[in-house]
Symmetry: none
Subunit: 168 residues, 4 copies
């Protein structure tokens, strides 16, 4: 079990296994000055999978505590977590899509190629404006990725819709 320490809204580790196993091989987190930093989404996922533990000082945090921290700074944290988990469980590499105005960019497996998808997470009950869609499709189109709307329903199931700019 690799130990990570809470640091603001991220967790970090200097453990070799964190660097080689999680970051280099599996593309979790970001390597800065010999430390692997994970987002709370990544941390929660790896806690749930039993790969890491997260400590706040000496105290070990439960999965629920990690998720609670995530929710405090992101009201979509739970919906995003379900999608993140679903994609990671299927073997995809999932990174933040912030730069592209989406929630995730998703790679087929490793990160050798460009990411192929931009994923935008929408809870079943949230109404959306057409511009929410058009902006994201525009970006995806510009960088030759596919824009995916991941709708999370009340049961926690996810349905994926590919949306693309089309010309008649």
């Amino acid at each position: 079990m690799i130990v990570f320490y809470l640091s603001g809204n991220r967790v970090f580790s200097t453990d070799k296994n964190a660097i080689d196993g999680l970051h280099n091989n599996r593309h979790y987190g970001k390597l800065v000055n010999g430390k692997v930093f994970l987002s709370l989404l990544e941390a929660a996922y790896l806690v749930e999978r039993g790969k890491i533990e997260v400590r706040d000082g000496k105290r070990r945090l439960t999965l629920e505590e990690v998720m609670k921290l995530g929710r405090e700074e992101d009201e979509l944290f739970d919906a995003k977590y379900l999608v993140y988990k679903d994609l990671r469980d299927r073997g995809y590499t999932v990174k933040s899509g912030l730069k592209f105005g989406s929630h995730f960019r998703v790679y087929r497996r490793g990160m050798d190629e460009h990411s192929q998808w931009l994923v935008w997470v929408v809870p079943e009950n949230k109404t959306i404006a057409p511009n929410d869609i058009t902006a994201r499709v525009r970006v995806a189109h510009g960088v030759r990725k596919e824009m995916i709307m991941a709708v999370v329903d009340d049961d926690g199931d996810i349905v994926y819709y590919k949306i693309e700019w089309t010309k008649f």
Copy 2:
């Protein structure tokens, strides 16, 4: 110039050119007892293209007058007109998509084959529920057509989005 006469919220003509040219060849309107009836959408388009003129009794109506009639009974008339016009200008055949829960069903050219697209018109400033989208995608999926959301912005520009159910 083929003459059509206003008849409530439609216009009609018994002109041979209306029957052969517009209806039989180009699939405009509906033929009922030797008369071609056009919707106000179709009429406005053909007036704008200079193919027909619409008379209310003896008075010739301007395009604006035809459109005004359209708006009176359909708050989406302008948005739908822009999309209708754009699709017709590109050579497609466009008919009502009501039965499929969309605004238009669109045929590649003639109506020999099944329509290929279902087009749902959404003005930029209208919010939508995810299930408004999922319902229409599901219909399209079931009948093997493509579901297109046509977003009309405040400048009257249209962007088309193909939305389809996808699996990761």
Copy 3:
């Protein structure tokens, strides 16, 4: 009384009775890694029925508090809750109908067979476009389910309408 813990917009429990009784037998929630997760709709219902209690950390939440959380993320929460409750009270199994463009899919009892109904919740004072109806009827037709519109009035009473495509 089975204890569930609030986790964002869901609640979860690892209690055996939650897994066997609520999930396996009665088809509540979703089982993920040995935890039963319920939506706030399900949680509110089971709190009201006195089957579970929901805790936020150590504090026990009232039904009203659970519902308040639900409303925060779903403007239709109350209308949907009334319908959900009514259907569960009659012994039906109720799950999200998102994939079919409706709010609920409803099973006669267990989930052995396909769901038989798609339920679309409409508050009394919401106006609807005919194609909102025709889209959902078409979906139901395509998957051989019945399309039900559940109209919730201002007093919280529900009337169900079955809508189907018919030929004269």
Copy 4:
């Protein structure tokens, strides 16, 4: 050709064929003091079918003129006319449904039995309130008829939806 005379928003005839053929056998209009009175909808239909002619004093009115009169007092005249015509063409007997809050009551053939359907006409583009539906279904239920919503699309095609009160 049976001659009818315009009288306000109706037309009437004292012709034997009007009384026997149209009224007694085919259930058109209303017999009052030896005169058959037709609504403008009925009159327009019979003019279009070539069964009658309508005169305003000595002047013979065209179908279009009859319809124009109809529109002046009923903005839904055209949509209703299309539905009326569709049902009559299929051999049904169609009478006003006003008493039941609908547009038409429809009999299988003659009027020996009770009417079986109440038909409510809705143009594709008009938004509706749930109460528009609930009131009409309520009435239909109370008198053991079927409530049919006839949606008239922009092409003048009609799709029929049966709506009924259902209990779970």
